[in-house]
Structure formats: structure tokens, C-alpha cells
């Protein structure tokens, strides 16, 4: 068995010269320290993304776009296709877990200041992927064309339309018209299965390439220790196997969620019916949604909603650019203020999300 694989490797190596790469990979190590556990979350996010791609492709085989058939095709998948219920529920659950894992990954990188030089671009591509993930979530949510999704999309695109000057054109572009219709569904489908995956893959490639090239980021304390004192483990096979173990458990967790907490379908969207009471977006948008509710209608001379959106956009931009304005970390110094800012953001998001959920 082993001899066969060795012969295969040799055959490929003769043509592609893998040995340099293999040697390089063999040297890859992972620092072992108090915060090592956070290293897993990048991998988990990747794993969940792969699950989304696989289950997404499977769903594509039976999903029918268009407002007459979208809902019924999901009903069909849930009830008539063998294991359709499993594939669909895993896809819906993974969407949420993917965003959660990405958030944990992002915050752990932030608090470790791993974005500092030379890894600024890794951070930027990561943030862009995160925004794309939110786009995935928003566009995918509409695809079953059920009541909840229809109105959530209406509200969400309404908010986009509030932005001054460019808001209206953006809204019309997103909706494929003035209102949310079958045209919106077609667009969102295109975004969800073609546009976003394409762009995401590009950023993912860059992100992973950079991580391989630059190696794992070490915490600042680490850099102060001597080379001998630093504990590490080889990526191949140790860390990889641990990664795989973790992924194994996550996959089983998804199956358990799919069986005991199947994702609901609800009622088919009816454009002529009034919105159900208490409509709210998915949890990852809730903190923004709830914040907008708290901002008064007019603040000084500005429209409250516009102000809120602009504030969030600004906050997002600043967050994305943190490698460039956090001078201390790029110098290798501890930065208390970064920690405080990060803590504030995390707490704000958690508290507002909880309020938005129970309100």
C-alpha cells in the first residue's frame, strides 16, 4: 500500500518537482501557547465553508429558482428527496455556524494582534471574506422565498436605499426593480451561487497562500522568549490531525442539529399580504437592526437611520483598516487601547444581539 503511494508520489514529483514544496510544508510549525486553541477557528471556518459549497452544489441539483417554484422545490427537497432534509438543514445550520466561526476567528486574530506587520493583507482579505459571508447569508436567506425571508429582504434592502445619493440606485440594483419580486430572487440566486463564490475563492486563495508563506502568527509574548523556550508542534501531521478531529466532531454536531432541530420552511411568500408582526433579521444582523431602532428619527439635522448606517459603515471601515492605524502593535508593543476597543465591540454586539432577540 505504502509502496504504491510512494511510486505515485515519485511519478508526480518527476514532473512537477514537489520536493521543494514538501520540504517547505514539512517545516511548517504551529506555536503552542496559552492561546493556541484559537488557531483552530480559521480551519473550522474553512471546513464549514467547504461544507457549504458541497451541500450548496447538492441543493442546486433540485432547487428551482423563480417565485412559482422556489418554495415548492425546497418543500420537495425536504419531503421527497432522499436525505434532502439532511442536506438542506445542514446547509442552513452551517451558514449560521460559519458566520459564528468566522467571527470568533476574526476576534481572536484581533486580540492576538496577528494582523500586525507583515500580515496586514491577510487581515484585509479576511475582512473582505467576512463581508462576503454576510452577503452569502443575506442572499441565501431569500432563496426559499418564504414569508420571513421575503419581508426580511424587503426591510434589509429598504435600509440600503436610505443611504444618501447612492442608496436608491443600490437598492434598485439589489432588488432588480423598485420592489422585492421574482426579479430579486433571480438576482440573489446569481449572487449567491456564482458572484460571491467566485470572489470569495479569490480572496480565500490569497488568504491561505499568505498564511502558508508567512507561517502562523506568534503572540507578542512569544517573540520575547528565546527560541529554545518556544514550544511548537509540526503542522504535518500533528496539528492537521487535531484539526481533522475537531472537524469530525463539528460535522457530527451538524448532523445532530439537522435531525433534532430541522430548519423551518414556514409559509410561502405572499407579496400582497401584510408583514407578520415582529419581523427581524437573522442573528448576525440583529445588533445593527436593534441599534437602528434605538436611534431617534432625527438627530440634529440628519435623518436618524442614515446616520446609523453611515456610522456602522465607518466603524466597519476603521475595523478593516486596524493594521494601519494600530501603530503600537506594528512596533511589537502591547496595546491596551486595542484590547479595550475590541472588548467594547464584542460586548456591544453580544448585548445588542440578545436585546434584539428577546425584544
Amino acid at each position: 500500500m505504502i509502496r504504491f503511494w510512494k511510486r505515485f508520489y515519485d511519478w508526480v514529483d518527476e514532473r512537477v518537482q514537489l520536493s521543494g514544496l514538501v520540504e517547505f510544508m514539512g517545516k511548517k510549525y504551529v506555536p503552542v501557547h496559552r492561546h493556541s486553541i484559537w488557531y483552530y477557528f480559521g480551519g473550522v471556518s474553512l471546513f464549514l465553508f467547504i461544507i457549504q459549497v458541497v451541500t450548496g452544489i447538492l441543493l442546486l441539483l433540485y432547487y428551482k429558482g423563480g417565485e412559482e417554484l422556489a418554495f415548492e422545490s425546497i418543500q420537495f427537497i425536504m419531503s421527497k428527496v432522499q436525505f434532502g432534509w439532511l442536506i438542506r438543514s445542514i446547509h442552513s445550520w452551517t451558514a449560521n455556524l460559519f458566520i459564528l466561526a468566522a467571527m470568533i476567528h476574526m476576534f481572536s486574530v484581533y486580540f492576538e494582534k496577528a494582523y500586525r506587520k507583515p500580515r496586514e493583507f491577510t487581515w484585509i482579505t479576511g475582512m473582505l471574506m467576512f463581508f462576503l459571508a454576510l452577503g452569502f447569508g443575506f442572499s441565501g436567506y431569500l432563496l426559499p422565498w418564504n414569508e420571513l425571508a421575503f419581508f426580511a429582504t424587503k426591510v434589509g434592502t429598504d435600509i440600503a436605499g436610505v443611504i444618501p445619493v447612492i442608496g436608491k440606485p443600490i437598492m434598485v440594483f439589489l432588488r432588480g426593480g423598485e420592489e422585492v419580486t421574482g426579479a430579486t430572487l433571480s438576482r440573489f440566486f446569481g449572487f449567491h451561487v456564482a458572484v460571491f463564490p467566485g470572489i470569495f475563492t479569490v480572496f480565500l486563495g490569497i488568504h491561505l497562500l499568505l498564511v502558508q508563506r508567512q507561517g502562523m502568527s506568534e503572540p507578542l509574548e512569544f517573540e520575547n522568549e528565546s527560541t529554545a523556550e518556544r514550544k511548537t508542534m509540526p503542522f504535518f501531521p500533528n496539528f492537521l490531525l487535531r484539526d481533522l478531529l475537531f472537524w469530525l466532531i463539528v460535522l457530527n454536531l451538524l448532523a445532530i442539529l439537522a435531525v433534532f432541530f430541522p430548519w423551518e420552511l414556514g409559509k410561502k411568500a405572499d407579496a400582497f399580504a401584510p408583514a407578520p408582526a415582529g419581523i427581524k433579521p437573522e442573528w448576525y444582523f440583529l445588533f445593527m437592526f436593534q441599534t437602528l431602532k434605538y436611534i431617534p428619527g432625527t438627530v440634529l439635522v440628519f435623518d436618524g437611520e442614515v446616520l446609523g448606517i453611515l456610522l456602522f459603515s465607518l466603524a466597519g471601515l476603521l475595523w478593516t483598516l486596524v493594521p494601519f492605524w494600530d501603530r503600537k502593535s506594528s512596533r511589537g508593543e502591547k496595546s491596551r487601547s486595542i484590547n479595550y476597543i475590541g472588548l467594547f465591540v464584542v460586548l456591544y454586539i453580544i448585548i445588542l444581539t440578545i436585546i434584539g432577540w428577546v425584544a
Binding site: I2, W5, K6, Y9, S19, V22, M25, G26, Q75, M78, S79, W85, L86, M233, P234, F236, P237, N238, L241, R242, L244, L245, L248, I249, L251, N252, A255, I256, V259, P262, L265
Partner: protein
């Protein structure tokens, strides 16, 4: 002076002749009688006259004066011949005044005008100058007697004539309500009430008995005594009184029975105005509703499908031969209860066994038994399918399509209840098997959903077991690997690498 003396002498002479009859004060009457006035002739028999009310009591003026100018002066309150609503006003001066009525020792009610004004007759007449009816319309003007007096136009035997004065006049009624029939009298005379009334029985119902007298409202008015949901209690005022109905041969428990029946519950408790009140089967004025030959055939006017099936069934001839009423024989008349499966078949509660026995009319016996068995099994199948669907739904399985199909099973059961009336086993079986097919399809779907529910959990268990085995062995492998690494020091990469 010269003209006056003969007048006075003449008056005194006439007055003297009639002094015995006329109360001393009513000079108006004395004078007018001498003139041969029809009104005063009638007034002699009037109850007002007997009670001491003078002409001035209604017409105003001075009844004590013999002088015409004085007696009929405006100053004395003379109003002449009141017209239109003025008449009702004049009557109401006393009759709506409880104190005044008490002074005359009367126990009459005093709300008649109020009631009249609120009634349908209180609407404006087509002339626009007055309301449709006033007191004298029905009571006449001068010969008014008690309603208990045979001479009264509102005595039970005379009411019909009084009402039909207007209500049988097609040209007149057309100016008010062209859709109101004007043949009530003809129809009424065909009924028991009408024929007995014609023969002189004052106890049977006439117009006022049901419609009221002063407070007559349109039958569509919810306050009317003949409004659908009020009608049964109106009829039962007489028909449920054993005392009142003593000399008649009919029972007095119809209202009681009706209230408990399907129709009664629907009409009286659920306020379903489509349900029949007494008049729907017995007719309004006639003996039966228009177009219905006999009351035993009236059910078909609503239950048309059942009646059709029955008419082409073998029971029709059999019942006709034995002079049995069609629907009533099995379903009753007033006490019609909800028709359940129990009515069908050969058990003790079933009606079929009243005529069909194992040895007597055995073919019908067998058919009845079979039909009951079929409908019972359909009901059982349908219930089972519904239970299974509910269970699958509870478990969160997607079963909306099967649930939707279940309607068809229920529909088949209802249609079969109607099809019973053809008393044809083949046709019955056809309808029932349609339902049973649907029920079994739904049961299968639901069972499949329940099996799937279990399968998912078992499958998950197996997958989890496989995963756990793999996870544990992987963990052990990692542990071992790292132990070897820390002991051996050399890399033990699982990747093949060239030997240097």
C-alpha cells in the same frame, strides 16, 4: 230671537226623545243624532259613549253647550274632523295617558301609539302627508268596542277582514312594497287556522296572533314576532299550552322537540337563519309552503339531493303503498336529531330494522347491514389516517400534502351519508371505496413519514457511533504519535519523503 226659539224648542224636543240614551252632557250627540248622522248612530254603541266620553272627547269643543257656534268653536278647543296623524294624536290624548285611563277605570295598556309609530305601519304613507296607519284604520272611528266584543273589527273572527282591506288590494300594496304577496287570505283559508276561523272558532290564530297588533314589524326585522328565530316561540304561545289547546286533538310538545332538534339548535342557538322555523315546513299562511303538495314532501325543498335519491329508490313505492310519509318515517318531524351512522343498519338503534328483518324483507336487511359496515369502516379508516397524520405532524415531518388529501376522505364520508337514500348497495359502495382509497393512501404516506422519523434517528446514531470510534482512535493515534516524537526526536511524518 225669532230664529233662536224654534231651534231651542226643536233641540229640546229631540233631546227629550233620546234623553234616556244620551248622558245628560253630550249635547253634540243629541244634536247630531237628530240630524240623522251616521257617526252618531254608531257612537251610540261605542264603548267611549258607555264610559261617558263625549264627542268633544275626541273632537274638542264644548259638549255642554247647545249653541253650535259655542259648541264647535275653536275657542272651546274644537278641532273639527281630525285627519291623518291628527286622529292618532287625538286618541293618544287619553289612551297614551296612564293617569287618565286609570280615572276611567281602564286596565288597557297605554303604549299603543308608541308601538305603532315604531312599527312598519308607522312609516310614511305614499302621500307623504301622514303615516300609513292610524287608530281608526283598524278600530273604526265611532263604533269602537272592546276587542272581546264580536262587533269589533279587531275581534279574532273579524281581524282577517280588517287587515285584508289593504293587504289584499294589489294596486294599493304595490305602491308600498310590490314584493309583498296579496294572497295571504286565500292561502290562510286552506290552512287549519283559516278554515276554523271561517267556521267561527275565535281561538285559532289570525293575523294579529302572529304578527302582533300595534307593533307589527316586517318579517325581516329582527324584532318582529315572525322573524325566523322568533317564530317558533310565537307559535308555541298557543301550541305549547296544554290548557289552551285542550279541545284540540294535536300534541303540544312540538316546540320542546324542535328546540332539541338539529333545526332548532341551528336556528335558536346558533342563529343560523337558513335553518327552518315552523313556517318553512308548515307554510306561512297556507297549510304547506307554496308548491309543496303535502308536508311529508317538504323536506326536499332544502334536502333536494336526498329527496331525489329517495324518489328513484325502491322505498318510494313501498312508502307510498303503505301511506308512510317519506322523510319523517325515519327522521322524525319535530325532533329530528343529527343523523349519525347509528341510524343506518340493523342494530336496535337503527331505523332500518323497523321494517327489515332477517326473515322479513331480508334483502333490505342484508343491504342495510352491508351499508352500515361499509360506512363504519370508512369512518375507521379516515380516523386512523387522521391520527397518523397528526402524529407525523407532531413529530415535525413534512406531511402537508397528505393532510390536504384527507379532505377527500371526509368528503366521501359525507357524500355516502347522502347516497344512503338511494338504498342501492352498489352505488353506496362506489362512493365509500373512493373514500377508503384516499384514506389508505394518506395512511401510507403518514406511516412512511413516521418510519422516516425513526430511520433518521437510527441513522444518526449509527453515524455518530462510527464517528466516535474514528474520533477516539484518531485521538489515540495523535497521542501515540506525539509520545513517539517527544521520545524519538525524529520526525515521523506520515508523508513519504525521499531518503537523503
Amino acid at each position: 230671537m225669532n230664529r233662536l226659539v224654534p231651534k231651542i224648542a226643536y233641540t229640546l224636543a229631540i233631546g227629550f226623545c233620546f234623553a234616556v240614551r244620551a248622558p245628560a252632557d253630550d249635547k253634540c250627540l243629541t244634536c247630531h243624532q237628530s240630524l240623522g248622522d251616521k257617526a252618531s248612530e254608531l257612537f251610540m254603541r261605542d264603548v267611549h259613549h258607555t264610559r261617558g266620553v263625549t264627542c268633544a272627547g275626541c273632537h274638542g269643543g264644548d259638549a255642554k253647550s247647545e249653541e253650535m257656534e259655542q259648541a264647535m268653536s275653536k275657542g272651546a278647543g274644537f278641532i273639527g274632523v281630525p285627519k291623518g296623524d291628527g286622529i292618532s294624536k287625538a286618541c293618544a290624548e287619553c289612551h297614551s295617558n296612564p293617569e287618565r285611563m286609570r280615572r276611567y277605570g281602564s286596565k288597557l295598556p297605554t303604549n299603543q301609539l308608541e308601538q305603532l309609530q315604531a312599527s312598519v305601519h308607522g312609516n310614511l304613507a305614499t302621500s307623504g302627508k301622514e303615516h300609513i296607519a292610524r287608530c281608526t284604520t283598524c278600530h273604526n272611528a265611532h263604533g269602537i268596542v272592546s276587542v272581546k266584543d264580536r262587533a269589533s273589527p279587531v275581534f279574532p273572527l273579524n281581524v282577517v277582514k280588517t287587515c285584508t282591506k289593504c293587504h289584499a288590494d294589489a294596486a294599493f300594496m304595490r305602491t308600498y312594497n310590490p314584493s309583498l304577496p296579496v294572497d295571504q287570505l286565500e292561502k290562510y283559508r286552506t290552512s287549519v287556522h283559516g278554515s276554523r276561523n271561517a267556521k267561527g272558532d275565535p281561538k285559532v290564530a289570525e293575523c294579529a296572533s302572529c304578527h302582533g297588533s300595534h307593533d307589527i314589524r316586517s318579517a325581516k326585522d329582527v324584532k318582529s314576532a315572525v322573524f325566523a328565530s322568533n317564530l317558533p316561540s310565537t307559535c308555541s304561545t298557543c301550541h305549547s299550552s296544554a290548557e289552551y289547546m285542550k279541545e284540540y286533538t294535536i300534541p303540544t310538545d312540538q316546540f320542546e322537540k324542535f328546540s332539541k332538534s338539529v333545526h332548532g339548535v341551528a336556528l335558536l342557538r346558533k342563529h343560523d337563519l337558513a335553518a327552518p322555523a315552523c313556517n318553512a315546513c308548515h307554510g306561512n299562511h297556507g297549510a304547506t309552503p307554496p308548491g309543496v303538495a303535502s308536508i311529508s314532501k317538504v323536506c326536499g325543498s332544502c334536502h333536494a339531493l336526498n329527496a331525489d335519491l329517495f324518489s328513484s329508490s325502491p322505498h318510494k313505492k313501498a312508502f307510498d303503498e303503505r301511506n308512510l310519509p317519506e322523510c319523517e318515517t325515519c327522521h322524525g318531524n319535530h325532533e329530528i336529531i343529527v343523523a349519525t351512522n347509528k341510524l343506518l343498519g340493523v342494530s336496535s338503534e337503527a331505523v332500518c330494522s323497523r321494517c327489515h328483518g332477517e326473515t322479513q324483507n331480508p334483502k333490505g336487511y342484508a343491504t342495510a347491514r352491508t351499508m352500515r359496515a361499509l360506512i363504519d369502516s370508512l369512518e375507521v379508516d379516515e380516523k386512523r389516517a387522521a391520527t397518523l397524520v397528526e402524529e407525523a405532524e407532531q413529530k415535525g415531518m413534512e406531511i402537508s400534502e397528505a393532510k390536504y388529501k384527507l379532505r377527500d376522505a371526509r368528503q366521501a364520508r359525507l357524500e355516502s351519508r347522502t347516497m344512503v337514500h338511494a338504498f342501492d348497495e352498489e352505488r353506496f359502495r362506489e362512493v365509500v371505496s373512493k373514500g377508503m382509497d384516499v384514506a389508505s393512501f394518506v395512511s401510507d404516506e403518514a406511516t412512511r413519514a413516521l418510519d422516516e422519523y425513526v430511520f433518521r434517528r437510527i441513522g444518526l446514531g449509527i453515524a455518530t457511533l462510527a464517528m466516535s470510534v474514528l474520533a477516539v482512535s484518531l485521538y489515540v493515534f495523535i497521542r501515540r504519535l506525539e509520545r513517539r516524537q517527544s521520545m524519538g526526536g525524529k520526525m515521523s511524518s506520515s508523508l513519504p519523503h525521499r531518503k537523503p
